[in-house]
């Protein structure tokens, strides 16, 4: 298992596309969480996020600011990470190369999941670190006191962020296995995350009670409720307290386990053609 994790780590770390994903995650996160609101504040031009004011950009809001993107746009990037790690094995035909070296599919699959979940954790930590640096610079530039969140809040924030990131990553892996490739899983995954989720939340749920009820059970809204409970601004797309934080956390964890189990079952049962 440790050897398999090392193998998977080499595959991920040496892959330029993974670093591109991280760079995009960091730049999007900083741009929409800090730079645009700060520019709005500094320029006094108003706009939807300028009213959050400077206070929301300071270090004490680090947890909410860092995990606010995970229900939708950071989540999308995490899903792509999962698809790339698993779907590419189909696209390149490399499953046969791997599984003739180690035919124990559950072990190979578990190593893959551990590795992508560690990569997801690294991504979450990188977003926290970049956010911390940016908010610190803003606080210094504006002459505000630098107050960091407590270590407990930070740990809970990182843990919750990781849970959500891991859920989307493992969903990506599941889609990669189910659809045996990269393009279709990425496409369908993004349509769900970026379009269907929003349509359900903004159009269907207000009109139909059963859709509103369904929202409370779906992965995206639960991720949104979890980050909302930890201080993410509810004006961020996908962030809304549709259920309590505890319930949301349990639901997200349950989805993570279900996605992982389904992927493992499919990979184990199906022929590698």
């Amino acid at each position: 298992m440790a050897d398999n994790i090392r193998a998977e780590t080499i595959k991920l770390v040496r892959r330029p596309a993974i670093w591109a994903l991280l760079a995009i995650a960091l730049s999007l996160s900083l741009t929409f969480t800090y730079l645009i609101p700060y520019a709005g504040y500094a320029g006094g031009t108003g706009g939807p996020r300028a009213d959050r004011g400077l206070a929301a950009l300071l270090p004490d809001h680090l947890v909410g600011n860092s995990i606010g993107g995970l229900p939708v746009f950071l989540g999308s990037l995490m899903l792509i990470l999962g698809v790339l790690a698993v779907g590419s094995e189909y696209a390149w035909g490399t499953w046969k190369s791997v599984l003739t070296q180690d035919p124990l599919r559950p072990r190979v699959y578990a190593a893959k999941l551990v590795t992508v979940c560690l990569a997801a954790l690294s991504g979450v930590l990188a977003v926290f670190a970049a956010g911390a640096a940016t908010s610190w610079v803003i606080a210094l530039a504006e002459g505000r006191p630098v107050t960091w969140p407590g270590i407990g809040d930070l740990l809970v924030g990182v843990g919750a962020g990781w849970l959500i990131a891991a859920m989307w990553t493992v969903l990506g892996a599941l889609l990669g296995i189910a659809l045996r490739g990269v393009a279709l899983p990425v496409g369908l995954g993004l349509v769900w995350l970026l379009a269907v989720q929003n349509l359900l939340a903004l159009i269907a749920a207000p009109l139909l009670e059963w859709v509103a009820q369904l929202q409370q059970a779906l992965p995206g809204p639960n991720a949104g409720a979890l980050v909302a409970a930890l201080g993410a601004g509810t004006e961020t797309p996908g962030v809304a307290a549709v259920v309590g934080g505890g319930q949301a956390g349990v639901t997200v964890a349950a989805y993570l386990l279900v996605f992982a189990a389904l992927g493992g079952m499919l990979l184990r049962r199906r022929d590698i053609l």
Binding site: A7, K11, P16, G93, W95, S97, V98, Q101, D102, L104
Partner: protein, 299 residues
């Protein structure tokens, strides 16, 4: 002494895709230390069989045993199935490092197998930049990582130039000489004829023959060209019996051992027939293959 367990043994191995039977009750035995040629037209079920041996495809029914063990273990088994497949962004060396980790073998094996397939000087280059021949050699290198007792090679010379093909044959011979069992699928008759101790022929998913190359080619015969041909055929029939004589391509095929050449010659010359050619003849493996598979019908 206990008999050695067969490296490969299948019992009534079957794979169905809906109504299509790709592999049909296949009984295959590969003996220790032999180079076994697995022959068949395209679509006969060769690759499906090899994938079932390696656990990549689940049989519909039947049984696979490698070294007597149940399926799911590939210790000491290396394989190259249907062309090489690697991570294009990694170098050849890093690709092997990844697979060595998966296989749980010493990282030191990587340099050894790269040297074995003579790829060491390009091992640092990205796999995506490799020629077809280099990719194939890297595939063989990966198959050798576990220092295997059994190597399964599916059409290993596909895409190789003549020099690459010669290298590949050399490698297979060396593996065989070192006591490694090789299961080699191919559609190149000369390759199989040259390399393999025994051959299994698969057609429409069924094993239609399994024997040595020599047995498959059948008995050696005599080829005779003489004039007048009709008189020669009549004399030969009276000497050897009517069933032993066949008129083909302006000559006679005589189903008798080559040792009777002098006797046949004397009889024909004695009957005033001019003999212009008399030589031992042997069916090529290719002819034997076509006889078994029904000519060039690759359906």
């Amino acid at each position: 002494m206990e008999p050695m367990t067969a490296p490969v043994e299948t019992r009534r191995l079957t794979k169905r895709y809906g109504t299509l039977t790709a592999v049909d009750a296949l009984d295959l035995t590969v003996r220790p230390g032999e180079v076994y040629g697995f022959l068949g037209p395209n679509g006969a079920g060769k690759t499906t069989t090899l994938r079932m041996l390696l656990g990549l495809i689940r049989p519909t029914s039947g049984e696979v045993r490698l070294f007597g063990g149940p399926p799911g273990r590939l210790d000491g088994v290396g394989a190259l199935i249907e062309g090489p497949a690697f991570y294009p962004y990694l170098s050849g060396r890093d690709n092997l490092r990844v697979l060595a980790r998966h296989a749980g073998v010493e990282p030191g094996r990587v340099a050894a197998v790269l040297a074995q397939v003579e790829l060491a000087d390009r091992a640092g280059d990205r796999y995506a930049t490799y020629s077809l021949g280099m990719k194939q050699r890297l595939g063989v290198a990966a198959a050798l990582l576990k220092d295997p007792r059994l190597v399964v090679l599916d059409e290993p010379t596909n895409g190789l130039d003549p020099a690459g093909m010669a290298d590949m044959r050399k490698l297979v011979r060396r593996l065989g000489a070192e006591g490694c069992t090789v299961l080699l699928s191919s559609h190149l008759m000369t390759e199989v004829q040259e390399l393999c101790d025994r051959v299994g022929v698969i057609v429409h998913g069924r094993l239609v023959a399994e024997s040595t190359v020599a047995e498959l080619r059948g008995d050696r015969t005599l080829r005779l060209v003489a004039a007048p041909l009709e008189a020669a055929a009549a004399r030969a029939r009276s000497l050897l019996g009517p069933d032993a004589v066949r008129v083909t391509d302006g000559g006679l095929d005589l189903a008798v051992p080559p040792e009777r050449a002098a006797e046949v010659n004397a009889a024909l010359v004695g009957a005033g027939i001019a003999v212009s050619e008399l030589r031992p003849d042997e069916r090529s493996l290719e002819q034997a293959f076509f006889d078994l598979t029904g000519g060039n019908d690759h359906g």
